[in-house]
């Protein structure tokens, strides 16, 4: 079979919504794009454990503490599914982690912002997980089978995360004056970074068109951003908080909210490593990895010894039988 016909088969599968599986032929660039996107997604889950993990030991009630701990643990689980999905494309988890630590692989820039008060746990759940869901629900139908299946599991848990975040915000917004202030302050700080999470405008998004054609992506950045804004503005109104955008206005003609100018210079700076917590987050991950090196070595040495002992036992049993 010649290469063009493999390409043809691939194109036909994608066009007719048949999932591409690990053993199927796929274009190199498709594979590379997926590895980039899935590993970036996995890294985002793992780095994303840090800003929220920051408040586990300080949660204001035992119930909130349990929910937060479970949520951060879920994120670790999502990282695990996603690393496994990426591994089906021929890259190891250690290689991906190496790329994260060297700065070659990226993770969602949103996690380079600090969590300063308890209300940030609400804002992250409501806005950050809310934005993530908008991005991720279409990925449940993405063309690569293992990624789509991982996303089905991830999305189920994310919608629970989003609800618990909104519930934290609602409780604060209905609380005392200082709680309401805390909620508004968190919304002020997280709003713009959250709507930047959808990525650069379509005109400046280098990967969008090809990813749409491969059906890795289903909607453009701007489409998803608009959808998120339309939903979230209503939710903010419902709990009496003000979205920090003076240009926000319902547009009767388009049936959408118009919104103000996004500061893309800030976005690109945070992507490039100049956000408030870029260094801190990466250092924390590297430190955890380095401090764990002797533990991982011990575990693999022990596993090796056990295998060897089992083989010796089997050999002895065979010798005795013979």
């Amino acid at each position: 079979m010649t290469e063009p016909s493999l390409q043809q088969q691939f194109d036909e599968k994608v066009a007719s919504e048949i999932a591409i599986e690990p053993r199927d032929w796929m274009p190199d660039d498709y594979r590379k794009t997926l590895i980039r996107q899935i590993s970036q997604h996995a890294h985002s889950e793992i780095v994303g454990m840090l800003p929220e993990g920051n408040w586990i030991t300080r949660a204001p009630s035992l119930r909130r503490k349990a929910v937060l701990l479970a949520k951060v643990q879920d994120e670790g689980g999502h990282g695990l599914y996603l690393y496994s999905a990426a591994e089906t494309l021929g890259i190891s988890r250690d290689e991906m982690i190496e790329q994260l630590h060297s700065g070659k692989a990226k993770y969602s820039s949103i996690f380079n912002y600090p969590t300063l008060t308890w209300a940030d746990m609400g804002a992250i759940g409501w806005l950050v997980d809310g934005a993530a869901i908008m991005n991720q629900v279409p990925l449940c139908r993405t063309s690569y089978g293992p990624y789509a299946r991982a996303m089905v599991r991830v999305c189920k848990e994310e919608s629970f995360h989003q609800r618990q975040g909104f519930e934290i915000m609602m409780t604060l917004a209905n609380g005392t004056a200082v709680q309401k202030k805390m909620a508004q302050d968190a919304l002020n700080r997280w709003w713009w970074p959250s709507i930047m999470m959808f990525g650069p405008p379509d005109a400046d998004s280098p990967h969008t068109q090809q990813s749409m054609e491969w059906r890795i992506k289903r909607f453009t950045n701007d489409e998803l951003r608009q959808k998120f804004i339309d939903v979230t503005v209503e939710q903010a109104r419902l709990i009496g908080l003000t979205v920090p955008d003076p240009d926000l206005k319902w547009n009767e003609a388009t049936g959408h909210y118009d919104y103000g100018k996004i500061d893309w210079e800030e976005f690109w700076n945070v992507v490039k490593g100049n956000g408030p917590c870029n260094k801190q987050r990466l250092e924390t991950r590297k430190k955890a990895w380095e401090n764990g090196a002797w533990v991982r070595e011990a575990a693999s040495a022990y596993a090796g010894k056990r295998r060897q002992r089992q083989q010796e036992k089997n050999a002895a049993a065979e010798a005795a039988a013979a």
């Binding site: 030991t57 204001p60 503490k65 670790g76 991982r296």
Partner: protein, 273 residues
């Protein structure tokens, strides 16, 4: 007698909360992703058990005669609530008591240090917890017996997890062997308290509510010896045992744990979260 049962229940609740707090500090920082998830999961189990026990402790407290209620705890924050006639709940007990009213054993408040120290602490505690809760199933106190019944399956998993890590590190590399031995030695002095009854435990003995620590102690020693031997490690030499936690006399570490744990409730009192 109910006050003694309150202290007994609080002691178990405090052990669970503080141990869970320490384990939860690992969340996001574990040596490998699977273990990060496992240790967070175990922290959640302890936290869940702490909540059941605090809820029961709050019931016991609220049922005390008013004159007793105003003298049980020392912290002004709690005193104030009690004097206003408020009923206490799980969060009041966790967040508004001061260090001298916490009754957890010293072992669980010791810092994580590294993976070996964390495993040593968990292992000593999990062995104790397992035999303790197995016996607590037959408590004459129905609530404690039912909490024990519910908790035992997860405690059995905790014990398997920490035992396997002692073995893996002990029988892993030279470095891990040394680190594990050192951690077991360093934490040994906090193990005596686990099986030494406090006054409130002795006072309760005739009710049949508390566990007879005389039964737990030899089982603890046997299991610990068994695992340490399989791990090619040595049982730490006998030493002077630290105690005081059960009576509210703690190590310096607890103050920092509580400063962090209680920060929100102390800084923003009387609010719904």
């Amino acid at each position: 007698m109910n006050q003694q049962l309150l202290f007994y229940t609080l002691q178990l609740a405090d052990n669970a909360l503080i141990n869970g707090h320490r384990l939860s500090e690992w969340c996001g920082h574990g040596p490998v992703l699977e273990q990060d998830i496992a240790i967070s999961n175990i922290a959640l189990d302890h936290l869940g058990r702490a909540r059941s026990l605090y809820q029961y402790a709050a019931e016991l407290f609220n049922a005390l005669p008013p004159e007793e209620r105003s003298t049980v705890f020392n912290s002004p924050a709690l005193q104030e609530k009690v004097q206003m006639g408020a009923l206490l709940d799980e969060d009041d007990l966790a967040y508004l008591r001061d260090g001298w009213d916490f009754r957890n054993v010293l072992l669980v408040e010791q810092p994580n240090e590294d993976w070996a120290f964390t495993i040593a602490r968990s292992f000593y505690f999990d062995v104790h917890n397992f035999y303790f809760f197995e016996a607590l199933k037959s408590s004459t106190d129905k609530m404690l017996a039912s909490i024990a019944e519910k908790s035992l399956k997860e405690i059995a998993y905790h014990l398997r997890w920490s035992s396997e890590w002692v073995i893996r590190l002990g029988d892993g590399t030279d470095e891990s062997h040394q680190r594990m031995q050192n951690a077991l030695n360093e934490r040994w002095m906090f193990t005596g308290e686990l099986n030494t009854p406090a006054t409130f435990e002795l006072n309760l003995q005739e009710t049949g509510a508390p566990v007879d620590l005389g039964i737990v102690a030899p089982r603890w020693m046997q299991k610990v010896t068994e695992v340490i031997t399989e791990a090619t490690l040595k049982l730490p030499a006998s030493t002077w045992m630290q105690q005081g936690g059960k009576n509210g006399v703690h190590s310096e570490h607890l103050g920092y744990v509580l400063a962090e744990l209680q920060f929100m409730q102390r800084a923003y009192p009387d609010m719904e979260w």
